[in-house]
């Protein structure tokens, strides 16, 4: 996406106004704790599959899969899921970009942990459950999220939560963890000044 200078200037303004919810070290500890909670709930590592929801959930799922690999001493399969076609607002917008869906192996009878970065209205997770079931019938589906920011619109509850944060609807939460370095962290931004920007959901 190409930004105009004006958009860039505004984005810079917002960045300076954003507050840090978790720094790189705290985020790393959060991932480690989430991995242990997933491991505790799922001692049978052979039936465990992590699936990151495109796009924010994908790097989170990879990090959790890495941590779980350390805990179990063997790799845990990790895939990606694009929920675009299953969204309930698909017809209210221009065709969103479709990202890869890669489900590792057969999920029939497995425990699938859906992973997302920010848990908000619950609509993405509803779409994800529909999308996932096209690939088979898992014995259980769980949900792991880094940030639960509230404002649920559907009766969906996460199993593993990194941090609960009270937010305003006008704010957005950004989880940055693809680099695995010092730039990582969770940020709360006030988007009221950036009315034209798409909200992170």
């Amino acid at each position: 996406m190409v930004f105009s200078n004006e958009q860039r200037r505004r984005a810079d303004t917002v960045r300076t106004m954003s507050s840090l919810l978790l720094d790189s070290a705290a985020l790393q500890r959060t991932f480690a704790r989430m991995a242990h909670e997933i491991a505790e709930a799922n001692p049978d590592v052979g039936s465990l599959v992590l699936v990151g929801i495109q796009r924010g959930g994908v790097p989170v799922a990879r990090r959790l899969a890495f941590e779980l690999g350390q805990v179990f001493g063997r790799p845990v399969p990790c895939g990606t899921l694009d929920v675009t076609f299953y969204r309930d607002d698909l017809n209210q917008r221009t065709a969103p970009t479709v990202n890869p869906t890669e489900i590792p192996g057969d999920i029939q009878g497995k425990t699938v942990v859906l992973v997302d970065d920010v848990f908000f209205t619950g609509r993405t997770i509803r779409a994800a459950m529909d999308a996932l079931h096209e690939f088979g019938r898992p014995s259980r589906v769980q949900l792991a999220v880094v940030i639960d920011r509230g404002h649920r619109q559907l009766p969906i509850r996460p199993d593993v939560v990194g941090k609960e944060v009270a937010t305003l609807l006008s704010q957005s939460v950004q989880v940055r963890c693809s680099q695995g370095g010092v730039d990582d962290g969770v940020f709360l931004r006030d988007t009221a000044t950036l009315s034209s920007a798409p909200s992170v959901s």
């Binding site: 076609f85 698909l90 221009t94 065709a95 970009t97 890869p100 096209e134 690939f135």
Partner: protein, 314 residues
């Protein structure tokens, strides 16, 4: 990249960025076709009408299956058994279909510009499935999709299009897509079917009537069928002579690069433009083009459906 086109009428008016966006989207739809459940609800509740005023089997089936795999409802309308035979105009036919709340109309027509004409007054989305000798955008897109998938790039490749260029909408759509993505295009065939004037079509297009020269450096060879149905006069003495002078036979194949792709939009005439052993050989990607055509058409339907109605057609 945000796709904001209401219609897909031609490739001439698309930017390289838009073409790449369709190809990237098609890649994800190809993956959908490889699943055990090959259907997604992207066009659930939408009505797609295949308006094929000129006969076609493969393109119609490909579009029909593409729409079905997106969960749309599809109606096929062919000219032979229709009100067009009773003297209804294309405009009235299209308006009647729109009155049935059609969301997308896929038009195949013998007249160049027919889809552009519909797009001017219809509220529905219009997809060009081939208009006269003008364009066949989804064929051009599936050809560059196949090249990109097999070669990893399009930029800098030498692509030879061999055969009936003059009457070919496939050639025109290919020329636009290939040159926009940075390929060098060589057109070859009998002088009556490959006018020198095609060199002014787009940059990086050259015409040669020497088949050995056209094949030598080619990374991709796209063979086109002789379109007898479109030729008003005899453009060459006989099919036998065409096969001898411009057919891709085993002797010529020995001079072709060993990793060159052999493509053909179909239907193929074995023994005329291509020898049977080459059509079925290891360098042929003819059937993969068919598979990719489905993915590209799913992508085109999906993107056009989401395209806002802001764009002025033309």
């Amino acid at each position: 990249m945000i796709w904001n086109r209401k219609h897909l009428l031609d490739l001439q008016s698309l930017s390289a960025e838009e073409i790449i966006h369709v190809l990237d989207t098609a890649r994800e739809f190809k993956a959908v076709g490889e699943r055990s459940i090959k259907k997604v609800p992207a066009l659930r509740g939408k009505t797609v009408i295949n308006l094929f005023v000129e006969p076609s089997t493969r393109t119609r089936i490909s579009f029909e299956l593409a729409a079905l795999r997106l969960s749309a409802d599809v109606i096929n309308f062919s000219a032979e058994a229709s009100s067009l035979k009773k003297g209804e105009t294309l405009k009235d036919t299209a308006r009647n279909l729109e009155a049935l709340n059609a969301d997308i109309i896929i038009l195949r027509h013998g007249a160049s510009g027919a889809p552009h004409f519909l797009a001017r007054f219809l509220g529905a989305h219009v997809l060009n499935a081939g208009d006269g000798a003008h364009e066949h955008p989804t064929q051009g897109l599936l050809d560059v999709f196949t090249i990109r998938e097999k070669k990893g790039r399009v930029d800098g490749l030498n692509v030879t299009i061999l055969g009936d260029i003059l009457y070919s909408r496939v050639a025109r759509s290919n020329i636009w897509a290939l040159t926009k993505l940075g390929a060098k295009v060589t057109l070859c065939g009998p002088p009556t079917l490959v006018p020198k004037s095609f060199e002014s079509f787009a940059p990086n297009v050259r015409v040669t009537w020497n088949i050995d020269e056209a094949l030598r450096d080619a990374d991709v060879i796209n063979l086109l069928r002789i379109q007898h149905e479109r030729q008003k006069a005899s453009m060459f003495p006989s099919t036998g002579e065409y096969a001898a002078l411009f057919g891709l036979n085993t002797a010529r194949m020995t001079k072709v690069k060993s990793d060159a792709l052999i493509m053909h939009p179909g239907p193929i005439n074995r023994g005329v433009e291509i020898a049977s052993s080459i059509a079925d050989g290891p360098q042929s990607v003819i059937l993969e083009q068919v598979t990719n055509g489905l993915a590209v058409r799913m992508a085109a339907l999906y993107l056009v459906n989401g395209g806002a109605s802001l764009q002025v057609a033309g």
